[in-house]
Structures are given as structure tokens and as C-alpha cells.
């Protein structure tokens, strides 16, 4: 490097080191890279350099320019960091002081999410039928989510589930984000002896995203294991629930034969509505709302329950779906968007939690 360039570099670096605030730093930048800065002058002077030296000299000046620009930026970053540190230190407050006695706003400003509300209502209604709430993890072993529920590896139903996977754990099996709340059936049957009556509201995940599917949604599972429980009880339980939940005492409910690997016989359940107006209870159209069936003997046996001794039923339904139907919410996506306007519009008051006494 020519002497003049080396000198300019040394001078600039010294000036940078001496600059301890943004204004000083900016002065250095202007003096070097500004319109009449030292380096700018060198660039301008290149035109006067003899052609045979110009290329080499030009390259050297440009290298220096890059070096100095980087040095200035580095200095700026370190000054910024120091300034932030100083600011944070200056802003220190005593967080052990008592909190204020009142929040910035009260119950009229807050609201409970419609999904949480529906779960409260489900809990209240099924509670009267003797169901307790059970829970399980979102990240679930594939045995719980599939195999134990009579969905072996090769089963076509596994593909229908659009499963999310996380990397394999120590056992070499890839855990899944549970595709339904049904694995909690398994956890419950392993954890307690029959009779069992549980519902399982919770988050579920499927790799599907469009206007009517969300990659995360909520289901409520029901499981009843006892002696002498029949398909008639399943139908009665669901009809009683649906009519109470939608508060339509004569809501038409239709049962169709279907198939799920974990129940036999299986049935899908429709409610009567008007497809054009969305009004429930009349209109002559049918809307599929949930799946159900008598617990498959294999599922019982997988959990160590002798199906000759105990039998029962299970069902599962989408919480968003019944929430949308009940409240006439047209679109699924805003449920998860946390738009304050939507939350205030569809949210419910924290001062009136769901209770059968006050009406769900």
C-alpha cells in the first residue's frame, strides 16, 4: 500500500477510536467518506494518475474504502451497544416495589376466547352426565396416537391424518403432534381401572391449511368404559349433549354407519340445519358434526382391558366447528389470529363463566 493510503488508514482508525459518541463518529465518516472527505478526494484524483498506474492505484483506493467503511460500521455498532447498555443501566428500576392495586382496565375490556368458552360449556354439560376431564401432551408417541388405537404402520388411515412429525427420540420412533385427542383414551385406560367416563378437550394438529382447515385445531374426545354400555347409550349421550349445547330441544340428529379403526360399530353423526341460512334445527339438510362408535375390542385389549368384561363408547368432535355453528361464526382462520376486534366481538365476559344454572 502506498504511504499516503497507509497514513489515511492509520489516521482514520485513530480518529474512530477517539470518537465516543455518534456525533463524533459521524464527523469521522464525513471527513473520510463525505463529499469532500479524504478518501473521496483520492478517488477523484484517480483521473490524474498515469494510465499505467491507474488500475493498481484504483484497486488499492477502493480496498481502503471498503476497509474504512467496515471500520466505521464496526465502531458504530460498538457505540450503539455501549449506548444501549448505558441506557438499560440508567433505566433500571426497583422491580421489588409493590404492584399497583388495580389493573389498567377491568372486566369490561377483557374477554374469554370462544374456544375456551365452548370447552367450559362442554365440561359443564358432560359433567352432569358424570364425565371428568382428562388431558394429555400435544407432542405424542406414535404408539399412543396410532398403534394403540388399532392404526398399524401400513394402515391407509395413517395417511389420511396428515401427520406432523418431530425428529425421532431415543427409541428411534418419530413423535407426532397428536392428530386427534384419542391418544388420551389410551393414557386414561392405562392410568385407571374401569368404569371410566372422561372427556378430553384439547389442541390437535394436522398438516392441512386452507379456508376450512387449520394446522392446529381443537377436538373433544369422549370415552366411557363400563359394563352393559350399548350403542343406544352412545346415541342417547350424544343427542342429550347436542340438544343441550345448541339449546334446541328438538334438534334433529341422524346416525350413519361409518368406519374408524378404533371403534366398531362406528357411526357418523349429523344434525339438521338449513344449508342456505345456516340455521340449526330445521331446514331439511344434514350437517356432519362428529364421529363415534363402540370402542374396538383391540383398543381395549391394547390397554389391558378384557373386552369380554368391559365395553363402552368413544366419540370425537371438532370444537371450532361446533363453536362456529352455535354462534354463526363464518370463518375459521380468525380464531387463531388474535385480532383484538374479533376477540372483543366473539369473546365472552369473564364474569359469566359457563354454568348450567345460568344456561350455556
Amino acid at each position: 500500500m502506498s504511504d499516503d493510503l497507509a497514513r489515511l488508514q492509520a489516521d482514520t482508525e485513530a480518529a474512530l477510536a477517539a470518537a465516543t459518541d455518534p456525533r463524533a463518529l459521524d464527523a469521522v465518516r464525513v471527513a473520510t467518506l463525505g463529499k469532500s472527505g479524504a478518501l473521496t478526494a483520492l478517488l477523484k484524483a484517480l483521473g490524474g494518475v498515469p494510465p499505467e498506474e491507474r488500475k493498481e492505484r484504483g484497486a488499492a483506493v477502493n480496498r481502503l474504502k471498503a476497509t474504512l467503511e467496515a471500520a466505521i460500521e464496526a465502531r458504530r455498532a460498538s457505540l450503539d451497544a455501549a449506548a444501549l447498555e448505558a441506557r438499560l443501566a440508567a433505566e433500571r428500576m426497583d422491580v421489588s416495589l409493590p404492584a399497583r392495586p388495580f389493573p389498567p382496565a377491568g372486566p369490561d375490556a377483557g374477554a374469554i376466547h370462544p374456544i375456551a368458552r365452548t370447552i367450559e360449556e362442554l365440561t359443564a354439560i358432560f359433567g352432569t352426565m358424570g364425565f371428568a376431564v382428562a388431558e394429555g401432551p400435544d407432542i405424542e408417541g406414535d404408539w399412543y396416537n396410532f398403534s394403540a388405537l388399532n392404526i398399524p404402520d401400513h394402515h391407509p388411515a395413517r395417511q389420511d391424518h396428515d401427520t406432523f412429525y418431530v425428529p425421532a427420540g431415543p427409541d428411534g420412533r418419530r413423535p407426532v403432534l397428536r392428530t386427534h385427542t384419542s391418544p388420551v383414551q389410551i393414557r386414561t385406560m392405562l392410568a385407571q381401572e374401569p368404569p371410566i367416563r372422561v372427556i378430553v378437550p384439547g389442541r390437535t394438529y394436522r398438516a392441512d391449511h386452507d379456508a376450512t382447515h387449520s394446522p392446529m385445531f381443537h377436538q373433544v374426545e369422549g370415552l366411557l368404559i363400563d359394563k352393559g354400555i350399548t350403542l343406544g347409550h352412545l346415541k342417547g349421550c350424544l343427542i342429550d349433549f347436542l340438544r343441550a349445547f345448541f339449546d334446541i330441544r328438538d334438534l334433529p340428529v341422524r346416525f350413519r354407519s361409518s368406519y374408524f379403526p378404533f371403534t366398531e360399530p362406528s357411526m357418523e353423526v349429523d344434525i339438521g340445519w338449513n344449508r342456505k341460512t345456516g340455521e340449526l334445527g330445521k331446514g331439511g339438510d344434514w350437517l356432519e358434526i362428529l364421529g363415534s362408535g363402540m370402542v374396538h375390542p383391540k383398543v381395549l385389549a391394547n390397554c389391558g382391558i378384557d373386552p369380554r368384561e368391559f365395553q363402552g363408547f368413544a366419540f370425537g368432535m371438532g370444537i371450532e366447528r361446533i363453536t362456529m355453528l352455535k354462534h354463526g361464526i363464518p370463518d375459521l382462520r380468525p380464531f387463531y389470529d388474535s385480532d383484538v376486534r374479533w376477540l372483543k366481538h366473539y369473546g365472552t365476559s369473564p364474569l359469566s363463566p359457563a354454568s348450567l344454572a345460568e344456561g350455556v
Binding site: 421489588s96 389498567p104 394403540a148 403432534l177 343406544g232 346416525f255 360399530p265 357418523e268
Partner: protein, 824 residues
């Protein structure tokens, strides 16, 4: 699975209406997804004879026609079509009919003074094409008065059903017909193809290396065929269900796939190298060009069909281009095989190949059908393409599919809750193809038909929990083996009658007043949610995953919690805290013009994949300013708001908050000087709170003030269900004394309060910090903190001396603990 009504009626003798068929299909488990019925819209349009067409007296371009539809009335129709002429046959719509193309309702009307009693239509008006140059011109022999749609073959509704994975047999028109017949909607027509005479030895032979993968395969050649387009009836049927006719030989295989659920493949004999087709496992490095145009590299786990030249098809999934039939084919070899469903499923998934054949083989096909299907296919090929058949060549053997299943009649009511009688149950099973092996008062044993792989097949085996005690597992397994076939039969019996026929019974409840359905632990989430909403926060629900970069701002993002197949790049990491989700939500709201938000979410925070590593966290975030109001100035939200939120949640869950302490040890996403953790005892961090770090706010587009908290609900101890102690209700008035201390600004105020409270426990019931002053009247680095102490006398009023003594104790205690001095 799609089929047309006329196709169904090739197998089903029935008078049932489309409506009855549709309702029954849905009721018995073959859910109707849609019905395409062009005929319904065309029903009011009839074939008409134009007896006479004369020029309209008042219009150049109109004709007045006398039209007959063989109902005894000759109608006058005014028509503007250039081709309307005397003697033609066309299509007429009468008043009241709706024109399919535009929804117009036809009416009697006067056109230029002449009354017109209907409309003669163009193809476009009937929604049948673009032709609109004139009215439909039908051949002279078109039968006058008949509905046009039925004459033109347009009244064949197409029904689409969704077939559940257990019902491979219903992936065929015949299977659907059988179910409908069994449900009482007609009778199943017999299917017994006559054997086709063999004229020569088969030019190709089978060799099966893997009998587990392919237990039985038949083959037969037909020589002297002339391939070409298939006849209209076959093309119409295939087109009606959305298949493209290719040529007669290919169309025949597609026909049987749908008609009998029996996938077939035809090889062009001239293109097969050597004289043996081998069914074996794939070999390393082998590949073939599949019929979908893609080169497929097979693996050792795949079952392939190969000739001397290499792989010709992926068995049961997709044939190859190389040896397929084309218009030049003169000799074909028909393959009709059984494959192991599991292998087909795994192979198909491995290569992501979907095909009609795979769909059927992986669900299981009729195990006894191959000979009859082969005869039927041979006959149809000869009918369409001519030629003569070879002898049948086979390898493997018909599997031992025969098995029985037993049904105790008591279970119809005992599990099914149904009143179906034993006779009805047995009749239904017989109509489905089961035959009675033996029957007594208590039950029936039936032979399971070859096409019902789902009944008493014992597929899949058990997957019992390894945690079970061995005797318990064995007993449960034995019970399952004993009753599973019975459950299969019961399902058949119940579905044929329709589950709507089972009377609903309200659940017997264990007690008229139920126990609470939530455990004490579970109520914490709903309680926390209500407390936060009551403090003006909006309860949110967000996805449990977000982008890994945002997640990393809030905590660890281990690879073990990164999705292998995220649906979008910004939804790939299980979140370390719900706070991350609502911080993004707050930024979205601010961008919409709502800078002052209070959001809360109670949901999963993920540390690892174990159940214990999946925490339930109540998180909240406030941004911006408190509301402007005449009574109180607006102010920025601050760390004390967040602390208040966290403490309110903890208090509602029964945590004794007076015993909690605060330490400035909050995670890095908080402002280091304006945040803290709330601890119970020396170690347990129940909550974090504070201002968000300015750098983080910049990264998340949160321009204004933003404060947050997290409460770790799993760590809150279970509330104790014990009776409260008798309340302390002294007869003497409490009295209050104020103390102002000068103390180093670095000393936490909490320490003074705690010291004062502990100075004389018998007397001091409360200590409140009511003033904090820092300013130029004080020495550098010092603050003034003022405490209000409540003294509660119990046995007698306090004397001045006693009060003074307590005061001195308080000052001494505070000074000792904190170095503070009483301000004069």
C-alpha cells in the same frame, strides 16, 4: 368411488328411486359425497314434432309453429331459430319448465301478437354444449313425447361415495349393489361368467419367488386381437365416472377395476422378453418407466413383475410403459393376481404412487374371484377385439380364506342396543354373502365370504402396551380374539337396518348430583383465564408452533422440537412460550392501528418431547398506554402492570403471595433492569415479568411500550382442601404509623417491607410501601421509601411507650437488614 345409476343396475335389480338409493348408501356406511344428475334438470323437456312452421305475420325472423308432443294437444310455439321448419323433430319445454342454462322459467306469452305456449331449445339453452345456431335438430325417428334426456342417454345420474378404508369390497359397483340388496333395496343379479374355450397353450408362464407377497396369480393370453377404441357403452360408462377411454384393451382393465373391484393388467406378449413373467422382490439399481411417465427406482422391499429384460411393473400398483398394450398389439396376456395388502400399502407409500389398483389391493380384494374375473375379462376382450384365448396359466394357489365367525344373538341388544331379531340378523348376513354354518337358540356361526377381508380377518394384530402385567395382557388378548369377529358381524347386522333404528337411551348417571368434572389442578387454567380477562386482557388461542427465528428470541429452540414437515417455513418450531405467539399478535394489531392491546394466552410451552417437558403457561402482554380519561392521565404500561397480572394469577390459584420474593433474574427477552422473576422459596420460579427488551421490541415491530409476564401453572402447588383457621378478629382498633427511610437505591424495597413485617410479628399485621422518592434533595444514589405499618393490639390498647418501642424495633430491624436510616 363413482358409478352411474345404470351401471349399478347392471348388478342390482331394483325399483328404488335415486333418492332412496342415496339415503340408504349413506345410512349403511357408503357415504354419498355427491350426485350429478343432469337428467333431473332436463326432465321437463320433451321430444316434439313440428307439424307446421309458417312465417310470423308481423316479424321477419320469427316462425309460428304447430307442435305436437303426443299428449293430445297441438300447441302453438313462436320460434326465432333459423332452422325451425315443418316436419322437424326437436326439444320442447312447456310453461313452468326452467331453462337449465339461465334459470329462466318458461311462461305462456304473446310474441308480436301471437300466443306462444312454450319454447323449443338449443343445445346451449339446455346446458349441453355451445351450439346455439338453432334449435336441436333430432333424427326423424326420435320418439315424439318422450323425455329428451332419457332418449339421449343423459338421465344416468352419477353417484360418488366415499368408501372407508375397511371396505375394499365396496370399491366396486358389484360390491355396492350387494350392500344395497342386503339393505333391502332390490336383488343382486347373478354373476357367473361362462368359461372361454382355450385354443392354444399360454405363451407365457408365471414364476413366483415371493409367495407371501403374491400368493396366487393367474394369466391367460388372447391372440389375434385387434385393438381400437372401445364401444360407446363402455366409453360412456368410463367417461361418466371421470375416466378417459384409452383403447379397448386398457378400457377393459379399467372396467373390471370398477365393476368387480378386480384390478387387472394386460401385457403385450410381443413386447415381453422371454417366456416367463417372474414375481419377485426388486433388486438394487433396478428401475422401470411407469405408466404415469415417471421412472421408478424399485427397492428390495418392493414386489415387482419382471421378464428377461427387467422390471415391467410394480406389482399391484402400476404397470410399465414398455410392455403395455397399444393399438398395434395383436396378442395380450392378462394378469390377475392376489397381493399382500400390507406390502402394497408400504410400496405405494414409499413411491408415492396412487392408483386404482393400489387402492383396492391395499384394502384387500376378493380372494376367490380371480378365475371368474379372468373368464369375464377374456370374454370381454374377445367380444371387443376378437381373437382366441389360450389356456390359463397359474402360480401359487388360492389362499385358505375360508373362516367362520360367531354371533351371540344376545349381543345385538347387549352391545348394539338394537331390537333386531335373530332371524332378521341372519337374513341380513345371508344377503351380504355370509352363509350359515350352524345356528342354535343363542347364536349363529357363519362362513365369511371371500370378499369380506375386514370381517374376522384378525388383521393387524394387537399392539399392547409394554407396561401391562403379562397375565393381564394375555387375558385381554384372549378376550379380544374371542369377540372381535362377533363385533365385525354385529356391525354388519346393525348397519343394514340403519343405526337410526337403534333407540337412544340417556346415560345412567352414577349419582344424580355429579362430582366436579375438573380436578383442582385443571381448574387452574380456567381460573387464570378468567382472572386475566377480568383484568382487561383478551384471551387468545395461537398455534403451538411458529418460526424458529422468532421462537429463538424467547428461549431455546432445540432441533428435537423442530417439525420435520412444517406446512410453512414460518410454522416450523414448537414454541418455547405462548408469549412468543402473542408478541407476534400484538405487532399485527399495532400494524392495524390498535397500539394499546392487552393479550393473554394460556397454552403449551415446549421444552422437550416428554409429557413433563410440555408445560402449561399463562402468558400476557400489554402494549402502549392506559386509556385517556379526564379523571386520570394516560400513562405508558410498565413492569408493575405485568407484575400485578402475574401476582393476580398466582393469588387466584391460592399461592400465598406475601411469602413470594422477586429477583432480577428474568430471561434475556426482558429489559434487564426492568424485569424480574417471582420466586417461591429459594429455587422455584413461578413467574417472570417485566418490560420487553428494547432490542426484541425492534425485532418484533413493537414500537411503543410493551410489558409481559409468564406464569408457570404446572409449578403451582395443588391447593390444600382444608378448613380455614378461625379468623383473627381482635376487639381493639388497629393503628397505623408511617416511617420514611433513606436507603441506597440499589436495595430492593421488598427487603425493607419484609424486615419491618418481621420486627414484631405479634403486633404488626401489615406493612405497605406508600411512597418512593428519589431526587436532588437526597444524597446521590439514595432513595426515600415510606412504609405504613399497621399495629393490631390484642389484649389492651397500646400505650405510647409500647408504640414507641415497636417503632424502635421496626427501625432497628429495617436498618439491620438494609442499611437504611430513618429520615428525620
Amino acid at each position: 368411488m363413482k358409478f352411474s345409476l345404470s351401471w349399478l343396475k347392471r348388478h342390482l335389480e331394483t325399483d328404488a328411486t335415486l333418492e332412496q338409493i342415496s339415503t340408504t348408501l349413506s345410512a349403511i356406511g357408503l357415504e354419498v359425497e355427491g350426485i350429478e344428475d343432469r337428467g333431473a334438470a332436463l326432465a321437463p323437456f320433451r321430444i316434439a314434432h313440428v307439424i307446421e312452421a309458417v312465417q310470423h305475420p308481423d316479424a321477419d325472423k320469427l316462425r309460428v309453429c304447430q307442435v305436437d308432443i303426443a299428449d293430445g294437444t297441438i300447441r302453438t310455439i313462436v320460434c326465432g331459430a333459423p332452422n325451425a321448419r315443418t316436419g322437424m323433430k326437436t326439444v320442447l319445454g312447456l310453461p313452468g319448465a326452467v331453462v337449465p342454462a339461465n334459470g329462466m322459467v318458461l311462461k305462456v306469452g304473446k310474441i308480436r301478437g301471437v300466443e306462444s305456449q312454450g319454447m323449443m331449445c338449443s343445445s346451449r339453452e339446455l346446458g349441453l354444449g355451445d351450439e346455439h345456431d338453432g334449435i336441436i335438430d333430432l333424427p326423424a325417428d326420435a320418439p315424439v313425447g318422450q323425455p329428451y334426456a332419457s332418449w339421449a342417454g343423459l338421465d344416468d345420474p352419477v353417484i360418488e361415495i366415499s368408501v372407508t378404508p375397511n371396505r375394499g369390497d365396496a370399491l366396486s359397483v358389484r360390491g355396492v349393489a350387494r350392500d344395497l340388496a342386503a339393505a333391502g333395496l332390490g336383488t343382486l343379479k347373478p354373476f357367473a361368467p361362462a368359461p372361454v374355450q382355450a385354443a392354444y397353450p399360454s405363451p407365457l408362464a408365471w414364476s413366483v419367488d415371493d409367495l407371501a407377497g403374491c400368493p396366487w396369480v393367474l394369466g391367460r393370453a388372447v391372440r389375434g386381437v385387434k385393438n381400437g377404441p372401445s364401444p360407446k357403452w363402455l366409453q360412456d360408462k368410463l367417461v361418466s365416472i371421470g375416466l378417459r377411454p384409452i383403447n379397448a384393451l386398457v378400457d377393459v382393465t379399467n372396467w373390471f377395476t370398477y365393476d368387480l373391484g378386480r384390478p387387472l393388467h394386460v401385457f403385450d406378449v410381443a413386447k415381453v422378453k422371454g417366456d416367463t413373467l417372474v414375481i419377485r422382490r426388486g433388486r438394487e439399481g433396478e428401475s422401470y418407466l411407469a405408466l404415469n411417465g415417471k421412472e421408478i427406482s424399485v427397492t428390495r422391499d418392493d414386489l415387482v413383475i419382471a421378464d428377461d429384460g427387467g422390471v415391467e411393473s410394480l406389482a399391484g400398483i402400476m404397470g410399465g410403459e414398455h410392455s403395455g398394450s397399444d393399438l398395434g398389439t395383436t396378442e395380450v396376456f392378462i394378469e390377475c393376481a392376489l397381493f399382500d395388502p400390507v406390502q402394497i400399502a408400504l410400496s405405494g407409500r414409499r413411491h408415492e404412487l396412487r392408483s386404482d389398483a393400489r387402492q383396492r389391493f391395499e384394502r384387500g380384494v376378493d380372494q376367490a374371484l380371480p378365475p371368474a374375473a379372468l373368464e369375464a375379462a377374456t370374454a370381454l376382450i374377445i367380444e371387443l377385439c376378437g381373437g382366441e384365448a389360450s389356456e390359463i396359466t397359474a402360480a401359487g394357489a388360492e389362499p385358505q380364506w375360508q373362516r367362520t365367525a360367531h354371533l351371540r344373538f344376545e349381543r345385538i341388544a347387549g352391545l348394539g342396543g338394537s331390537s333386531i331379531t335373530p332371524d332378521e340378523a341372519v337374513e341380513g348376513l345371508e344377503r351380504l354373502g355370509f352363509s350359515v354354518a350352524s345356528r342354535d337358540e343363542a347364536g349363529v356361526t357363519v362362513n365369511v365370504p371371500s370378499w369380506r377381508n375386514d370381517v374376522a380377518g384378525g388383521q393387524g394384530g394387537l399392539a399392547q402396551s409394554p407396561e401391562l402385567a403379562p397375565e393381564r395382557a394375555a387375558k385381554a388378548a384372549e378376550g379380544c380374539a374371542a369377540i372381535e369377529p362377533e363385533c365385525d358381524l354385529l356391525e354388519e347386522v346393525l348397519r343394514l337396518r340403519g343405526l337410526d333404528a337403534v333407540p337412544p337411551v340417556s346415560l345412567p348417571v352414577p349419582s344424580p348430583v355429579p362430582q366436579s368434572s375438573l380436578t383442582a389442578r385443571q381448574t387452574r387454567t380456567s381460573l387464570a383465564r378468567r382472572v386475566l380477562a377480568a383484568r382487561g386482557m383478551l384471551d387468545c388461542v395461537s398455534f403451538g408452533f411458529l418460526d424458529d427465528k422468532t421462537a429463538a428470541l424467547f428461549g431455546d429452540t432445540p432441533a428435537s422440537l423442530r417439525l420435520e414437515n412444517p406446512i410453512a417455513a414460518d410454522l416450523n418450531q414448537m414454541r418455547p412460550t405462548p408469549l412468543a405467539s402473542i408478541a407476534l399478535a400484538a405487532a399485527r394489531n399495532i400494524a392495524r392501528g390498535y397500539p394499546d392491546v392487552a393479550l393473554a394466552e394460556i397454552g403449551g410451552a415446549y421444552r422437550d418431547i416428554t409429557p413433563a417437558g410440555q408445560l402449561t403457561v399463562a402468558a400476557g402482554l400489554r402494549t402502549g398506554f392506559t386509556p385517556r380519561h379526564w379523571s386520570e392521565p394516560a400513562r405508558a404500561v410498565d413492569a408493575m402492570d405485568a407484575k400485578g397480572d402475574a401476582l393476580a394469577v398466582l393469588a387466584s390459584l391460592g399461592v400465598p403471595t406475601a411469602a413470594l420474593s422477586v429477583a432480577a433474574e428474568a430471561p434475556g427477552f426482558y429489559h434487564p433492569g426492568r424485569s424480574g422473576v417471582i420466586k417461591q422459596g429459594p429455587k422455584t420460579v413461578l413467574a417472570t415479568f417485566g418490560e420487553l427488551h428494547p432490542t426484541l421490541r425492534g425485532q418484533l415491530d413493537l414500537p411503543g411500550p410493551a410489558v409481559a409476564f409468564e406464569v408457570f401453572l404446572d409449578l403451582v402447588a395443588d391447593p390444600k382442601k382444608r378448613k380455614k383457621a378461625v379468623p383473627d378478629l381482635p376487639a381493639f382498633q388497629p393503628l397505623k404509623r408511617d416511617f420514611a427511610f433513606l436507603v441506597d437505591a440499589t436495595v430492593p424495597a421488598e427487603n425493607l417491607v419484609r424486615a419491618a413485617r418481621g420486627a414484631e410479628r405479634a403486633l404488626i399485621t401489615d406493612v405497605a410501601l406508600f411512597d418512593r422518592y428519589a431526587g436532588e434533595r437526597l444524597p446521590e444514589g439514595k432513595v426515600s421509601l415510606a412504609l405504613e405499618v399497621t399495629l393490631q393490639p390484642r389484649d389492651a390498647s397500646l400505650t405510647d411507650a409500647e408504640i414507641e418501642a415497636v417503632g424502635a424495633k421496626i427501625v432497628a430491624a429495617v436498618t439491620k437488614a438494609t442499611g437504611a436510616t430513618l429520615r428525620g
